[in-house]
């Protein structure tokens, strides 16, 4: 039951390939995402983040690779860095993972379902502008571990992940 609870609680904002932190993407309450108008031209979405001129598709390969990284970091020290800055009860989740999850428990991605870009922005960078996309992804996953008394254990689930993907070389 403990692992089920931990498993379910991963559904929240997760940051992947993060070079920077964007407060507007991980917040307690709603903020205005400005609609471009003659009165508010070039208004940034957040500090240092410019709106995209047109939506830039994120391909499935990128989404699948990102989900795989999430699975690989689950129940490892890297998981802390994977969770977004303002992930709700991040410390409490990590404390529970550290103290209660079986040490050999791993997360397997069974399938990556549909996904949708919620919003996008561009972070200007001399080394190549960064495209920052907040994406909703549905995935079927399975937690697996071995119980010496009861054998192989599986806990399946289907969740929505809100992930932040930062890409170089695709911003236009």
């Amino acid at each position: 039951m403990v692992i089920q609870k931990i498993f379910v609680s991963i559904i929240a904002v997760i940051s992947i390939l993060v070079y920077i932190t964007i407060n507007a993407y991980a917040q307690e309450v709603r903020r205005i995402q400005p609609i471009k108008s003659p009165a508010s031209i070039d208004e940034p979405l957040a500090e240092g983040i410019q709106p995209v001129k047109k939506p830039i598709p994120i391909d499935r390969q990128t989404i699948e690779k990102t989900m795989q990284k999430i699975a690989e970091s689950w129940n490892s020290p890297d998981m802390m860095n994977t969770l977004g800055k303002n992930f709700y009860e991040k410390d409490r989740l990590m404390d529970s993972m550290n103290s209660k999850a079986p040490v050999d428990a791993r997360l397997r991605i069974m399938s990556v379902g549909s996904y949708r870009v919620i919003n996008q922005g561009i972070k200007l960078d001399p080394a190549g502008d960064l495209l920052i996309s907040r994406v909703s992804v549905t995935a079927k996953t399975q937690v697996e571990y071995n119980d010496p008394a009861n054998g192989f254990q599986r806990r399946q689930g289907e969740q929505e992940y809100i992930i932040k993907i930062t890409q170089k070389g695709v911003a236009q």
Partner: protein
Amino acid sequence: MPTFILILFSFLFYTPAFAEDKTPLKDFALSLENTTRYENYDFWGDPAGSPYQNTGGQFYNELTASFSRRLSDYESFQGRFDVLYNDSRYRSQHNGLVLERGNLTWEKGNTSVPFRTQLGDNFSFMSIRTIQRSLKGFQLELQPAFSSQDRKQSLLFFTGTGADDYRDFTPAKNLFSGGSYLIEDKKWGNYSFNLLQNHQASEIKDGLAARNQLVGSITGEKILAFRKQKMTLEGEVAYLKGDYNLTANTTETNKDGIGLFGQFTADTGTPFNYRLRYENYGKNYRPNASSVNRDYEGYEAHGGWRFAKGLNLRGRLQYFVDAASTANPTDTYVAGTNLTGPLAVSFLPGLTTGLDAFIQDAKNKDRTTNTRTANLNMNFGMPVRTWAARLVLIARNVENFADNANWAGQRSYETNLSATHAIALGSFKGSVTPGLIYQNMAGNATNRDNYGVNLGLQIANAMHQIGLDAKFFSQNAYAPGTSNEVTNNVGFNYRFTKGPHIFGIETNYTDRDPTPGTAIGQSSTQAYKFAVFYTLKLDKEQGKPISSMFSKLAAQPEEAAAAATAVSPFSIGQPLQKAVDGLAAQGITGGLMQPGLVVYEARLLNEIDQRQRLALLHDEKVVTKTALIIDFDDVGNQSTVSQTFERVRSILLKRFGSPVDTFEQGQFSPNFARDVNSGKFVRIIEWRTENGAVRFGIPQRLDRQIRMELQYASKFPSRNETFWSVEEVR
């Protein structure tokens, strides 16, 4: 979704631009991505040991179609549909055709009330304590402008249901409808007023009646400045009235609950920053679209200190009360610390660390729960010769003081050692990472030793990508009634990418072998998954005819960019042979061929006496990057190092003009070499050219050599990435 179709067709056929230009969809940007995937799963032996329970062939095809049209600088329309044809037990609960997601978005800023409206899938967010989830329905946001630029407002309305797809779409099952007014004022702060209604239909299966709940909340955020301090005060008061699910088949009806949240964050203008947080959610505060816990109270204090050389120290004190209103609440106290960043240890140059430690005391009133947990998690990384090594040490100890407990303590230790090395095989480049793991557990009938070996390999060239992951893991349990287990796992991935085509193979094999196995009813299991897929991606830019989507399919393989008539050593994109011939014509000969690159001893900067080497990096056909490597005479001599660097820099400034970016961190000092190798000393100067960028600086290297590099490439890694050297040239 007839409304989808109506809106879509109205934009396709009734726009003024369409009336002027009869080319269908010319004014739309279109994107299609189709993946056909076949998977086969099987296992032998004990079914309980297989990660895959559904065997045999599994097939699905997923098509994503998206389009967008910019009608003006302030108006755009876009849509996206994800359609699945499924015959796989792993991909979806439905077989056949499934519309998984669909969204139409219209945004218009050049009107008296700028608006953004979405039909279909949308993300509805008011606050963490009210709603934060994807819905299928409708959303409208209005942003009427104030006369002052310092004040903005937004009205948000939405209605929709939380469903995985549009098959058997029944919104009344779990319908959310809400409205939010938000005002942001630079002087007075940000405030919002939110209202949310949720209706859940009755459920015959669990015998649940229809449930309704109404949640209202007020939020506020104000930034205060006092001398150098910047303080942010946030708060929310929320109220719930109605019904909520207590368990899967029981409900509470017609209840009232209050939720409170307050947070004070301070950036003191010094290396010290801190945050205080309070949360209180009443016994009956259980919004259906929020992740907060009911009957919960939390107090938190966080403090952080940023050291000058990049080290960050963070501490936390937390106190939580679960089941707060009951006769038997559970109190949890946590004290924790976290240290990350580079550590200045003279005999371990380049060492970076992550340390996380906490002590947690959790006890309820009747002491049926009473535990103390101590956890230490240390993570070290440093370059060791040509390897990037990583060591993870984890220790956990749980003491159980509960009355009538049948166990007193439990502990575990874990060591994880791995190292990554760059490899090159012909045109393939990548990395290999071998690793070892050891775990030891004791107490509470968990006594066992686990050990394992793993190997990761990633290599790729322009078209092929190969990934291999192999693990051997042995669990050796000592408690009566338990079994040992050996697990072997091998995963292999292959991708072939050419233009709009992607072909891939994925395999995974697991062998699980419990010992003594049959003594406790388990026997070995071998299971595999094999998947093959093909993806086709087609795009059309706005303003081009539809036929342009298919031009990539008919086009011949792209020729390398034509070389300049006078071959420059720094030209990229030209055929390799042409570059080599061009250099020979200029007297630069004797290149040493290495996998993926050619290295010349060549003094291209005549004004500099130090050793210079020119490297042409290629993909067997085309030069992809060039690098001029300039050595220092004596990296221990601070003055000659800084003089040489400044001389080269001034020459480059004359040649390339003003740089577009300069990044400098750290000073030339007697510890110059150590600072470069620990990432504390950074020099990066960049120029842009027509088809690429030029970067000059002193990169960090795995083999810890110190030298200057002038590189020409189409793009570079972020300047935060200090390992940008051409590692292959030693």
